[in-house]
């Protein structure tokens, strides 16, 4: 384990107004350390996605502080939050959110392009990450030509290609069968093998806890428990780290 890459202290998030107002997060404090994969579990409506939004700098908490790699998000405007995401965070979404008009390689390269990493190096890096997720032969395939598992692997490649310190994954296996889900989780777990990188996976799937260093439980907007799985999958079962140390 290494230093905390993400810390949330006393985070409260109130969504909506008037009668529709909901306290989605209630005084949540947690940290995400380098070199660990944390699984966040909880029932629907428990506040998982809201917490992911706050930790991912997409939603400003009503109260509390969030630090990303030592930077406070307090008072940051939308562009500053986007810059933090660009610099430190990679996202993996449940529905992949690949660009249907771009090829697999272009989808990945887009994450570099928005970071102004272009040209030969960017293409080489894209090819390298595609190879790591086992899709180098699908570089020029469009998302519609890929299976769900392959699409999610492209989405993971997009999230990791710029080598962010933090990977946030929202239900990354929800749309996948067991085999593909396991494959995706192995890739995410291997990402977290480096001391200065961390992965947070939000999921309903209890089978994924095998990949976790820690499991956090959330309910009604509060962290209700934390445990360290006993039967964690060993390093030797994981693929090579797609992110360079």
């Amino acid at each position: 384990m290494s230093e905390a890459l993400v810390t949330a202290t006393g985070v409260t998030s109130v969504l909506g107004t008037g009668a529709a107002q909901v306290r989605a997060l209630n005084n949540v404090s947690l940290s995400l350390n380098g070199g660990e994969l944390v699984v966040l579990m909880g029932p629907s409506g428990s506040g998982k996605t809201t917490l992911l939004s706050v930790l991912g700098c997409m939603l400003t908490p009503t109260e509390g502080n969030v630090h990303i790699c030592g930077l406070s998000t307090a008072g940051a405007d939308a562009e500053e939050l986007a810059a933090i995401r660009r610099r430190f965070i990679g996202f993996v979404f449940q529905s992949y959110h690949l660009f249907p008009t771009l090829t697999a390689a272009e989808n990945i390269q887009l994450a570099l392009d928005v970071r102004k990493q272009r040209g030969r190096k960017a293409r080489a890096r894209t090819a390298e990450v595609l190879k790591t997720v086992g899709l180098n032969h699908k570089a020029r395939a469009f998302p519609r030509e890929l299976s769900g598992g392959e699409q999610q692997r492209v989405a993971i490649a997009r999230a990791i290609v710029a080598e962010p310190a933090i990977i946030l994954a929202d239900e990354p296996t929800a749309a996948l069968d067991g085999t593909n889900g396991q494959a995706v989780m192995k890739i995410l777990a291997s990402v977290a093998r480096v001391p200065h990188r961390a992965v947070l996976v939000v999921t309903h799937d209890t089978r994924l806890t095998n990949f976790a260093d820690r499991v956090l439980y959330i309910e009604d907007g509060r962290i209700t428990g934390e445990e360290r799985p006993r039967s964690k999958i060993g390093l030797e079962e994981l693929p090579a780290n797609p992110l360079r140390a």
């Binding site: 992911l52 660009r86 996202f91 249907p100 030969r120 293409r123 699908k138 519609r144 929202d170």
Partner: protein, 427 residues
Amino acid sequence: MQDVPEIQRRILAFCGFGFRLPFLRGNASEAPHVQVEHRTSPRPFTREPDMPLVLTLASRNLFQDRLRFAATLTGIVFSVVLVMVQLGLYAGFGRMVTTMIDHASADLWVVAKGTTSFEDLSLLDANLEKRLTAIRDVASVDPVVIGFSNWRLPGGAMTPVFVVASDFRQNDLLPWNIVAGKVDDLKQRGTIAADKTYFQRLGVSGLGASVEIRGYPAKIVAVTEGIRSFTTTPYIFADLASARAYTGLPPASVSHFIVRLKPGADRDRLKQDIQSAISGVEVLTPQEFANRSRSFWLFGTGAGAALFAGALLGVIVGTIIVAQTLYSSTKDHLYEFATLRAIGCAKSYIYRVILYQAVLNAVIGYTIAAAVGLIVVALTATSALPIVISKNLIGGIFLLTLVMCVVSALAAIGRTIRMDPVMVLSR
């Protein structure tokens, strides 16, 4: 993926895209979760390095929905062609109303005070010729007579003509584009030049035809081509004496004077000298007289305003159509833009995608419209009011098209400003 069709490549190369366009590999249909059979031979990752990814994304977004793209192009082409025709008519009209002034060999024009145009029927005293000639540095003074007259058709009916006359010995305002006969023959009394375009309307067969104008006999001794009047009343060139007879103008009156300077004379100084020596006249340079004529016919009559209003309508229609289609395209791709935002891209990156779409619309739409415009120009070249499209107008309309499409993108950009990246987590 299929090869890029040759015709598409040619069209896009013509539009100025020097690089390869990978978006042409894209497919119109979108089904991201449908698995299809993979190709057996893996393709290496060789995305064309010379096209920015943001432009790739913009162009593929644009081409993805081909029906919408076609609708957008139709709107732009309609708009640009309308603007082109209206402004081309304006330019053509502006050129036609000054055609006599442009073809006269004048250093200065002396006209009655308040004269609005070459066709203004205000009169000057013919005796001014002597006073003008006496002014220092004046080389020659050529009286010009103009006026409407009646041309007798073979059946006995009358049709109006516009008579233009000057002293043919001085060659200051001669008919041009002579296709038959000789200008020198016009020095004879009772001879005229007419444009072949109007022969059918005037009921004559051509050179040598004998006609009657306001009861006076006339013979066509020169035939011109392309001297057309914006009033649709045919121009008839005649000598001064004949013109007075045809128009009923008294011998002591003329319409304008054409003044030629001695070599090396200062035109501005002479202009002032004439102005101070003779009252009740205005002394104009050819450019000033042309501007005044143009201003009168284009804006004094409302014709120019109507043409500009038509052009403005075209711009408004084009802007609305492009704005509507860009907005709906942006709405369709909102989750993609939100994804971009979620992965940390700056707003300016998204704006660039939308603006590139607008610019691509503009370039492709304009290219098609320009081709249509050239056809229209060719078709109207010999009409009563040809559409004139100059290089400046072509450049100006291209800039206008760009501005129109970029302004149209503002609504779409506004939609992305209100977009919340959290939406990608809700789906």
